[in-house]
Symmetry: C2
Subunit: 191 residues, 2 copies
Amino acid sequence: MKELVERIRQQGKVLRNGILKVDGFINHQVDPLLMDVCGRELARRFAHIGATKVLTAEISGIAPAVMTALHLGIPVVYARKTKPVTMPDTVLLTVAPSHTKGVMTELIVSPEYLGNGERVLIIDDFLASGATIFGLVRLAQAAGATIVGIGTLIEKSFEGGRALLAPLGVPIESLAIIQSMEDGQILFVEE
Amino acid sequence: MKELVERIRQQGKVLRNGILKVDGFINHQVDPLLMDVCGRELARRFAHIGATKVLTAEISGIAPAVMTALHLGIPVVYARKTKPVTMPDTVLLTVAPSHTKGVMTELIVSPEYLGNGERVLIIDDFLASGATIFGLVRLAQAAGATIVGIGTLIEKSFEGGRALLAPLGVPIESLAIIQSMEDGQILFVEE
């Protein structure tokens, strides 16, 4: 999507270890107008799949997921990384490696809000190795829900996430697809 | 605000320790349409204060803050609880007690996105003791910014937060104000 690709070109920074810094408009400071445009576009691409719920992971998935859910008119659930006291004693929990933190993090969902028969659209900020999204897939499947689509803002196609998720057989959409970040140069896959 | 008060009446639950559970529409599952209405109303109430940035704390402040910022047309910064690798080495950090977790949590903002001359509107999900919001106030002041308003979805007026923040001399707006939750009964301050 042109608006997002342009913003990454202008403000994205390649850090060491292959991390793309987009803290100025997605991950720490958020541009809500850009997120609204991105959510509208993801909602358009997934309008036909009959999703009943959006699922994401805290923290940086929340803004794009809420905007996508707004334009689809369905609720969004964000998996928590720590279990708050408001959650029931028994929850759904899985672990996934965190790309930017270098540790394993927990992903926790209350069975109150993700259940049998739900049709789940997973939305996140990044599709890189796919590990976090695959964790969300496991949570949804453990809840008895069906995954019907996966959407992200930015995909790093050279990290293999799409291949990991392809066996699910659901549409995978990313608004900006990066094919390489060598020498700090961001190369996009042309739409 | 009528829509929010009604939703709390229908789905809010008073847990032990005076915690109000609103996990079904704000804190774990989010109703994006309700958040949009709340954000629009907060934006209306703060339309005149000339805010240049919304500041909130991860995690549950993000949805209402992004929606408020969307309707004001300004960026939102969410204070992080752990420092990601994308942040510079030197950051603004304060600590505040977490009401629902019973521990001290860190609130971290990068000076890249909060600086001298900014006019900051703080938005959060709850105003209870005011400790988290006061932490955000300290961060903004340390950055050289000016606090121009404080808005929350739900205020528990019996926990003293408003009195703590009143000396700032800025408008404080909450969309639903609860005066008591004794015996599990939620009593609202009438608008």
